[in-house]
């Protein structure tokens, strides 16, 4: 069984869709392509899948794309501070400045 899902390029990144698809690698295969203003996702389910199962998985997949989108925002915002904290974790001096 095959299905196609579209994601608005203005809102979603290819990265988020790819990461979400990876998480479903044991449930379906996905081919992602760029298509004007959207990304399209060709989803192929194993032969014995029912419509209901497929619909449920597509729903979960869409949710997962949203989650991946959040993860991207977090990563973007926190990368710098993460490196700062790690640097201090491994430095002898510690974070507390001498005043």
């Amino acid at each position: 069984m095959e299905l196609q899902v579209f994601f608005d390029k203005a809102i979603y990144s290819a990265e988020a869709i790819k990461k979400a698809a990876y998480r479903f690698i044991d449930k379906f295969s996905a081919v992602i392509s760029e298509n004007g203003t959207s990304y399209s996702c060709f989803i192929k389910f194993p032969d014995k899948s029912t419509d209901a199962q497929a619909a449920r998985l597509v729903d979960e997949f869409k949710k997962e794309v949203l989650d991946q989108d959040l993860r991207e925002s977090i990563k973007r915002e926190t990368e710098g501070v993460r490196n700062l904290i790690l640097a201090h974790t491994f430095s002898k001096a510690g974070l507390i400045k001498d005043e």
Binding site: G94, I96, D98, E99
Partner: protein
């Protein structure tokens, strides 16, 4: 409750200033050692040479100078106690040899303005209190197990505070010290370092953390930025291996996050030496803010058990102070401490028939007077 301060009737006073005296009942000590001692007269004989003479009856003429006739309720004074006596006949017992908790108030100045402060801050020069404490160091018996320094905020003295600890170490090398401080001054790591360099063998800094929520902590102590400064202070102190106790006062403003606060301590401050979970004392500002602060301990006993359970799990030494046995759960028993200073603690009518009275810390006299739990009941056999 003991009356620690009083005024006596003076006879033949020649004191020109307030002075500290060690109290004694021994009229036979060598003449050379009498000058800085005040003799408590029990049998009427008043040999000459003592700095002062204290009586409790209407003995009129001792034939000595500096005779002070004290009110009857002060007749608990005893050998080895230390008193300040002023020219006008005011007397303050600043050290009692038999008391396990002798505490010196070093200042009333403070950079906190806690909702439940028992010693409301006053912004005036009271550095004489520090001088008196330093003076007393020479009189305190060398075998004293423990003394306390409190405020106000003692570290506002800056390096003078560190000098006090240094002098205490020198004068009383075997005595443990408890200091009550908000810890903020130690955010300056060079100050923390200078303090650590005194290298006192047993000085415990009791520092308050009232909530894991910085806004709430700052609200309780009425000082913006206090939480972060106190935390930094504690981290600095532990970096220099100093002893730190966390003190949490439990009331309506802190109870809702008490469990989270203890989790916070367990996760972030696991290296502290002791945690004290304390009931409210009905002194000072507490009475003015009673409606904001009062919660019956009986209502929070399960929360207290949970909070304590966390600290116990993580192996943090913890004591429960200022609670009565009948308003806490039995599972806190091994952490329960009869903490209220002997000159403050009392019992209420319900306690008369209680079989656990001797194990119980009882009440602050202020609590007895102003507000205590509605659930006080006697344990029967």
């Amino acid at each position: 409750m003991l009356k620690l301060y009083g005024r006596g009737v003076v006879e033949n006073f020649t004191l020109d200033r307030s002075r500290l005296f060690t109290l004694t009942k021994n009229s036979q000590i060598p003449i050379g050692e009498r000058q800085d001692k005040a003799l408590i007269i029990e049998n009427g004989s008043a040999p000459e040479g003592f700095g002062a003479y204290l009586t409790f009856d209407a003995t009129k003429d001792l034939g000595q100078v500096n005779h002070l006739e004290l009110p009857e309720e002060m007749n608990y004074i005893d050998e080895g106690d230390i008193a300040r006596i002023s020219p006008s006949g005011r007397i303050g017992i600043i050290f009692r040899k038999k008391s396990p908790n002798n505490t010196f108030l070093l200042t009333e100045r403070c950079n906190h303005y806690c909702l439940m402060c028992s010693q409301p801050p006053k912004d005036h020069d009271d550095s004489w209190l520090m001088e008196e404490a330093i003076e007393a160091l020479d009189l305190i018996p060398k075998d004293t197990a423990n003394i306390g320094y409190t405020g106000g905020e003692p570290t506002l003295y800056g390096d003078q505070f560190i000098e006090l600890i240094t002098k205490t170490k020198k004068a009383l090398p075997n005595t443990a010290i408890d200091v009550l401080t908000n810890g903020r001054t130690f955010k300056d790591s060079s100050f923390a370092k200078r303090y650590a360099d005194v290298n006192h063998h047993d000085c415990l800094l009791g520092i308050p953390i009232y909530s894991d929520d910085p806004a709430r902590h700052d609200y309780v102590v009425q000082a913006n930025g206090a939480f972060d400064e106190t935390m930094q202070g504690i981290l600095n102190l532990k970096r220099f291996n100093q002893k730190v106790e966390i003190r949490v006062v439990i009331h309506k403003q802190t109870i809702d996050r008490l469990v989270q606060t203890c989790e916070f301590i367990a996760r972030n401050l696991i290296f502290v030496d002791h945690v004290a979970l304390m009931g409210l004392e009905m002194m000072g500002f507490t009475r003015a803010n009673l409606d904001k602060l009062w919660i019956d301990p009986y209502e929070y006993k399960d929360t207290l058990s949970r909070a304590l359970g966390i600290l116990n799990s993580y192996g943090i030494r913890t004591s429960i102070y200022n609670h009565q046995l009948c308003v806490v759960n039995q599972d806190i028993k091994s952490n329960y401490v009869k903490s209220i200073s002997d000159w403050k603690n009392e019992y209420v009518e319900e306690c008369d028939s209680c079989v656990k009275r001797s194990e119980c810390g009882g009440f602050f006299s202020s609590s007895k007077k102003y507000r205590y739990s509605d659930h006080i009941r006697a344990f029967k056999e």
